[in-house]
Symmetry: C2
C-alpha cells in the first residue's frame, strides 16, 4: 500500500485543485461547484464562536449530570443536512469528522428519513427484540440485503452486536473458543474445564492471549482495552490482561524517498511479531489471535504496506493464530473500497472482520469454523438492533444508486492533492499528508498547534477531529463531493494562513 | 428481605386467585376480568405448535448466516400488542418473559408509537450522534425527564451506555480510576504510570480486582465476564481476570422454617467476603469494588435478606471498596419499587447503580467522586442512543399516569399467591415459589422437566424463560394486570397437569 500511496501522490500532484490563497469568499466558491440535485446548504454559515452561548448554557446544565470535558458543542440535528452540521446557536459547519466517522451518507438523508416514516417499520423502532432468541420476521432478509451484500470475499456468516467494542469483545471470544476447540480436537469440555470456568480458573478459563500493535485501537471494554495502545488516558488505572503488543511500522515520509528504510522497518516489526508469538507460547499464554486495523485510525492514521499485511497474515496462519481485521473505522467505503483490507489484494485476507460506525450496527463477519457449536456462547440480550440493519440496507442502496464508491475516489483525489499542496505551502506547520479515498490525514508540527488549528477551522465553519499525538484525521461522509473538498481546503488554507 | 418475603407469603395465602382446576376455557376466563380501556387481545390464540412452519423456514435461512441454536421463534412485532407476543405463524402468546425482561410497558404501546411518529423526533432517529462530543439539544432535558427523575436516592449523576455489559464495564473502570486516585491522593499519574499503562503493565495498569458472587451475572464482555458465575457455557475457553468470587447465600425454603439456618448461611458468606478482600489485598490485587445484584436473576432468582446487603455494604465501606449494585434486570419497577435495592431500606445503599433492559438504555448512576476528573477516560463513539432516552421519558410518564408501581404490587400478589397454590398442588414438580412484585420465580424438580414445562406452556400460549439450573423466572411487563396473572396461572396449571 505504501507504494500505491506514492504512485497516487505522483498522479495527483498536478490535479484540479487551485488554492484560494486565503480567500474568505467561501459560500460563493462552493455554490459555483454545486450540482442541482443537491438540497443541502450552500456552505458554512457562522453566527457565533463555537461553542456559542446556547451550547455553553446546555453544557453547564449537562455538567451537573455527567463529565462534559470531551463535549464540543450541542447540535441541532433537525437543521443539519447532508455534509452540514448545524449547532444550537445556528452555526452551520461543513462536517469533515461525521460523529467520529460514523455518518455514512450525511445528515437527514431522505432515504433514511423514509425508514422512520414508513409505517411498516414502526413496530421495529417501538419493540426492541432479544435478537438471539426472538428475531423479527425481516431479520434474515435485512442481513442478506445489508451486511451480507457487502461481506468481504469468502465470508458468508455474520454476527451483529450493539457497538464496536462489543463486536471486538465477542470476536475475541469466538477466537478463544475456536482455539481451545482446535487444541482439544473436539468441542466437548471435560468436567474439570466446566467447573473451573465458572470460578475464573484454568483449565476452564485458559491463559490465552490476543496479539495487538502499538498505536492500535480496538475499543474500551476490558478485553478490547488490553489490545488498545493509543493514549494513556484511555488505559491508565484499569487492569489489563498480560497480552503481547508488537511494534507497528513507523514509516518515513515521503514514502518514495524511504523505500528501503520502510521495508526494513516493516521487516523488523514482523520479526518482533513472530518472536512475541513464540515467547507468549513459551510463557503458557499462547497467541490465539492477532488483531490489527488496516489503517491505525485513533492511533494517528498510520499505514503499512500491503506486503506487510500479507506477511503478517501468513505469520498468524503459520502459528495457528486467528487473524482478525478490525474495520470499525476503516470499513464502509471511505478508503475507496468498501473494506480497507481489500487494498491488500489477498485471496484469504482474514478469519474475522469486525465493523461498526458507518455500518450503523456493530458486528463481525467470520469464517465457518469460528461459529461455536453450542448455543448461548456468543450471546447477550439485544445483540444489535434490527432498526440499524434497516438503515444500513438503505445506505447501501444509496451507495449503489449514486455510485458513491467512485465519488469517494474522485473526492479523495481532490482532498489528498490539496493536502499535498498545503503541506508544500506550509512546511513549517504540516507534513505527512496521506490517505486512501477520502480517509485522509495530515500531521501538524505539535499537539498544541494541532489542537489550535482544529478550533480555528471550526470557527471558520469546518468540523475536524484529531488522532494520534499530532495528526488531523479527515472523515467526511461518502456524499462529500469534489466541491465540498475544495471548500474544505479553502477554509483549511484560511485557518493555516491565520496561524502565527 | 427474606422475612419480608415471608410476611408477604402469609398475607397472600388467602388472596383472590381461585385455581381453574385445569380449565381450558382460557379466553373466556380472561375476558371476564378485562377492563374496557384495554385495546389488547382477549387471550392467547394458538394456530400451530411453536416454532411453526414459517418460523422454521426463517430459522433455516438465518442458520445459513449465524448460529441459531438459541433461537425460540420469529416474531411478528407489528401484530404484537400489550402483553401479547404474536409469532410469524399467527400464534398469539401471553408474554411473561418480555424479551429477557426488557419490555417495560408491553408491545406497541401508543405512547411509544407516538415517539416514532412525532415529526419533531425524526432527526433523532436518523442521525445517531457521538453523544460524548456532540449531543443533541434535548439530551440534558431528556436525562432530567427520564433517568434522573428515577435516580436512586443520593444520586445526581448518570452516564449512559449502549447496553448492560458496557454499563458494567464502564462502571468497573470508573471504580478502578476512583480507587487509584484515592491511593495516589491526587489525580495526576506519574510519567511511569502513563508510559506503562499503554503497554498493559503495572503501575499504569494496576492489579486491581472486583469481588463478585457465585451465581452472579453481570454481562459477557471480558471485564464483566470475570464477575459472571452462572453457567460454564458462558465462560468456558475465555481467559479471565484473577478476581475473587464469594459464595452467595443459599437460602432454604420456606424461609419461615429456616430462619436460624439462613441467618447463619448469610453470616458465613459475609465472613468469606471479608476473608477474600483481605486475601486479595495480600496477593497484591486489592478489591477496588464489590458488585452484586439485589436478586441474582440469570443465576436462578436467588434472594438474600436486607440484613445481608446492609452488612455487605458496610464491609465494602470498611475496606475502602466501592459498592456497585447491578440493577440491569431488577431495575425499572417490576419488584414493586423502582429499584430492587430500595427494598433494603438503606440511607446510603450504593456508590454506583447500573441499569439497562427496561430502562431501554444502558448506563449507571454514580456518586460524584466516581467521575474521572479528565476527559475521554469513560468514553466511546456512541455512549448510548438519545432515542432510547426519548422512549424512556414516555415510559415513565405512562408509569406515573397509570400508577403502574401499584399495579405491579397488586399483580404480584396474585402471581405469588398463585404460585404458592400451584406448588402446594404439584409438590413433586414445584418448589421454592418466591418473588417481589411481579419479579417471581419457582423451581422445577430438575432441568429437563423445567425445559419441557416451558415448551409445554409455550404451546398453550404462554412465553416463559428459565434461569439458574432448574428455575423458571416470570418477567411480565409492568402493564401485566391481575387478569393477565390469573390467565397465566390457569395456563401454567394446565401445563403442569399435563406433565407426566
Amino acid at each position: 500500500m505504501a507504494s500505491r500511496l506514492y504512485s497516487r501522490c505522483l498522479a495527483l500532484r498536478s490535479s484540479v485543485w487551485v488554492s484560494a490563497q486565503g480567500s474568505r469568499h467561501i459560500s460563493q466558491a462552493a455554490s459555483v461547484k454545486k450540482t442541482l440535485e443537491e438540497s443541502e446548504y450552500d456552505g458554512p454559515h457562522m453566527k457565533t464562536a463555537v461553542p456559542g452561548p446556547v451550547s455553553l448554557a446546555l453544557q453547564k446544565q449537562l455538567g451537573e449530570i455527567q463529565n462534559v470535558q470531551s463535549l464540543n458543542f450541542f447540535c441541532d440535528y433537525e437543521e443539519s443536512k447532508g455534509n452540514y452540521l448545524v449547532d444550537v446557536d445556528g452555526n452551520r459547519m461543513l462536517d469533515v469528522y461525521t460523529q467520529i466517522a460514523s455518518i455514512p451518507i450525511g445528515y437527514n438523508h431522505p432515504a433514511l428519513v423514509k425508514v422512520v416514516t414508513d409505517p411498516h417499520n414502526l413496530s421495529a423502532f417501538v419493540n426492541r427484540p432479544a435478537l438471539g432468541m426472538l428475531p423479527p420476521r425481516m431479520f434474515p432478509e435485512k442481513l442478506l440485503d445489508g451486511l451480507l451484500s457487502v461481506a468481504p470475499k469468502g465470508f458468508k456468516r455474520v454476527q451483529t452486536m450493539a457497538c464496536g467494542s462489543c463486536a471486538n469483545e465477542n470476536a475475541y471470544k469466538a477466537i478463544f473458543i475456536w482455539y481451545r476447540t482446535k487444541q482439544r480436537g473436539h468441542s466437548n469440555a471435560t468436567p474439570e474445564e466446566m467447573t473451573t470456568s465458572v470460578i475464573n480458573q484454568a483449565p476452564g478459563c485458559p491463559e490465552l492471549s490476543i496479539l495487538s500493535f502499538m498505536g492500535g485501537f480496538h475499543g474500551r471494554t476490558m478485553g478490547c482495552l488490553s489490545t488498545t495502545h493509543t493514549k494513556a488516558i484511555q488505559k491508565l488505572d484499569v487492569p489489563s490482561f498480560d497480552w503481547p503488543m508488537a511494534p507497528f511500522p513507523k514509516l518515513r515520509y515521503p514514502l518514495s524517498q524511504y523505500e528501503r528504510e520502510n521495508a526494513q522497518e516493516e521487516k523488523r516489526c514482523l520479526e518482533e511479531v513472530e518472536d512475541l508469538i513464540v515467547k507468549w507460547g513459551e510463557k503458557g499464554k499462547p497467541v490465539a489471535g492477532v488483531v490489527i486495523e488496516p489503517i491505525q485510525a485513533e492511533g494517528g492514521d498510520n499505514y503499512a504496506s500491503a506486503d506487510f499485511f500479507r506477511k503478517l497474515r501468513a505469520i498468524a496462519k503459520k502459528h495457528g493464530s486467528a487473524f482478525l481485521v478490525d474495520e470499525v473505522q476503516t470499513g464502509g467505503g471511505s478508503t475507496g473500497l468498501f473494506w480497507a483490507h481489500q487494498h491488500w489484494g489477498l485471496d484469504d485476507p482474514a478469519d474475522i472482520v469486525s465493523f461498526s460506525k458507518k455500518l450503523l450496527t456493530g458486528g463481525y463477519f467470520y469464517k465457518d469454523e469460528f461459529e461455536p457449536d453450542k448455543p448461548m456462547r456468543i450471546f447477550n440480550t439485544w445483540m444489535g438492533d434490527p432498526t440499524r440493519n434497516m438503515f444500513l440496507s438503505e445506505v447501501l442502496k444509496v451507495m449503489r444508486a449514486e455510485n458513491l464508491m467512485d465519488q469517494v475516489k474522485r473526492t479523495g483525489h481532490v482532498m489528498l492533492n490539496g493536502l499535498y499542496d498545503l503541506q508544500a505551502r506550509y512546511p513549517h506547520l504540516l507534513s505527512k499528508a496521506r490517505g486512501l479515498g477520502t480517509f485522509c490525514a495530515i500531521d501538524v508540527k505539535d499537539e498544541d498547534t494541532r489542537n489550535k488549528l482544529i478550533l480555528k477551522a471550526r470557527n471558520k465553519g469546518v468540523v475536524l477531529g484529531g488522532c494520534g499525538t499530532q495528526s488531523i484525521r479527515f472523515r467526511p461522509a461518502l456524499v462529500f463531493k469534489e466541491h465540498h473538498a475544495q471548500l474544505f481546503l479553502n477554509i483549511f488554507n484560511d485557518a493555516l494562513a491565520d496561524m502565527k
